[in-house]
Symmetry: C2
Subunit: 337 residues, 2 copies
DNA sequence: GGAAGAGTTGAGAGCGCTTTCACGCGACAG
DNA sequence: CTGTCGCGTGAAAGCGCTCTCAACTCTTCC
């Protein structure tokens, strides 16, 4: 409380105990609830706590409970990506919400460029945090490593490793819905720009696209791999050059979709008249371009919130139901298709 | 380390001491550097540390040093704003960088809608954090309150309260540069869309705009207040309606500028031929619109990094030089002016 | 009336670390 | 050879908390 050394420092359990006329142990019991304490005693302790403005010392508590009270949201991507794609801040926000009134600190950890899986594992093992939510992992390596050194972690997106908790959107189904919409709107020569294909979500969205195309008897082989970044949306140029008769485009996230939209428009084609475009994520940017982007929702904040709840259960020693599959994302129809 | 209770737990100072054949105290001295320990002893301890993979327990350390090892980046804005304006993630990133190899956890704290200054002060006083960097404050209230309950905080942007450390961009000068550029490009009827005028940066940018206009003998009274959000850029509609002969627009941040750009274009005017526009912040979005936005740089990450360094000094008991004025931002000329 | 049980409470032992204080030891001067 | 000084080190006292264990006070039941 007071900063000036020597001045009155924060009240401790001991102080509360003295004021309430009970022992430290009893105060602790009241503070942590649960154990049985006589109603009258509880009352007296509560009063003393209020009077003194007592607040438990996290460090002391952490020392004995062996819990740091910190959980991390780990994003194995470079900072640039993290702060460029609105998906990540949202994901972080979801975790923040989940722990909002639980006295847990949520920190955001990102990869350094060139970071190894190892470094992340070491961070988790170093005792800085009690557990972690991993968002946007590439390939199963991290999950495999984590499953071995048993750390309480929950992935957002299929970790492709056995025995690891995760929540996942039905990306394939969402991609099918998006693709079918394109077809319904009259598109026949449809390409997809995927995310990085070492990521589960990217693979699943591609699969869904191809399913829907096959289902309609169309050719689902026009595929270009992007990187989920705005710049990588520029592969649309190549696609357009190779397939000038293109009339539909399913882009695996909005960041790329907006870039692709620009590419298509600059090529002299009209959207949606000549080329229909559907994106993914329903990012804010989808409403800032012209025409606005038709897209699939991807409530990142909700996903991490759920992941956080699983993590809480894990931390409490429970075995959460996993994988937790989320309800499929919704199609938001706007101007681009 | 190991999660399963009963299995080997993380090595402690004691363990290291035993292996190195010295006392706990000596190991502590080595770990924390500074105090004089014989070179040979130091070596032996270092070896033991490596061998055991020892890592100090933050809780135990925090308990005795009375330092939590956590600092907060506080943004008194709703989450929505925080995750919508790329300025904030960048600011957070700067703090992350500054503390990257210092074993300090950096948490991001935002306001709930309707939060009072009080709640922030209480958070800071609650002992959760050692100090804070405050990023986007409205008015001097928070700073005033913080100055009283002496917490180590550093503001990014003039807190307008005496005795509080801060770093600040020369917003007025930057606005002058931006406005002069508009004038040089031939604009004469220039309006400005400001940020929320309870914020120092918004006020200063307005002042700079009016200075430059006066300096050129032009009318600097066409002013519309925005809120630094994309939506608030739509006030451009009103401005345009009231001043159809407008030929220049200085918008106090890029988010609003992009919206304003759209408004201008939809009104049938060409940018930059009919209306020249200069934004502020040099956000990524400035390059994603067409034409790309001419804007002023605002290296948010660097500012918080500097603020973080001041905070570190403050925490160490020093008295940092404050205010720290940063070099004025640069004009980035692109298509819009 | 006394034993057994249920309901409350307190004493005390740490958790892993920092830091004060005192002591041992070699070097140097007297 | 003894006294002094100072560097290097260890013993030990907490930091504020949780939690086990034992004890104490009433009831309740035989």
């Amino acid at each position: 409380m007071a900063r000036i050394d020597g001045a009155h420092s924060a009240p401790t359990l001991e102080d509360v105990a003295r004021v309430a006329g009970v022992s430290r142990a009893t105060v602790s019991r009241v503070v942590n609830g649960g154990t049985l304490v006589a109603a009258k005693t509880t009352e007296a302790v509560r009063e003393a706590i209020n009077e003194l403005g007592y607040h438990p010392n996290r460090a002391a508590r952490a020392l004995v409970t062996r819990r740091t009270g910190v959980i991390a949201v780990i994003v194995p991507e470079t900072d640039e990506r993290v702060f460029t794609d609105p998906f990540f801040p949202q994901a972080y926000h979801g975790a923040l919400q989940a722990f909002a009134d639980s006295d847990v600190q949520v920190v955001l950890a990102m990869a350094q460029p060139g970071d190894s899986t190892d470094r992340m594992v070491r961070y988790l093992e170093s005792g800085h945090v009690d557990g972690a939510i991993i968002v946007s992992h590439h390939g199963p390596d991290l999950a495999l490593a984590l499953a071995k050194s048993w750390q309480p972690v929950v992935f957002v997106g299929d970790p492709e490793a056995p025995g690891v908790c995760y929540v996942d959107l039905d990306n394939a189904e969402a991609a099918r819905v998006a693709t079918r919409h394109l077809i319904e709107r009259g598109a026949r020569r449809i390409a997809t720009i995927t995310g990085p294909l070492d990521m589960g979500s990217a693979k699943a969205r591609l699969q869904g696209f191809q399913d829907a195309m096959a289902e309609a008897g169309l050719d689902g082989s026009i595929v270009a791999e992007g990187g989920y970044t705005a710049e990588s949306g520029a592969v649309a140029e190549r696609v357009l050059a190779e397939h000038p008769d293109l009339d539909g485009l399913f882009v695996a996230n909005d960041l790329m979709a907006v870039t692709a939209l620009g590419v298509v428009q600059r090529s002299g084609r009209r959207v949606p008249e000549d080329v229909r475009i559907v994106g993914f994520d329903d990012a804010a940017i989808a409403q800032q371009c012209s025409p606005q982007l038709t897209t699939m929702t991807n409530p990142a904040a909700e996903h991490t919130r759920l992941a956080a709840e699983m993590l809480i259960e894990l931390l409490a020693g429970g075995v959460p139901e996993s994988p937790m599959r989320l309800k499929p994302s919704r199609l938001v129809v706007r101007g681009s298709a």
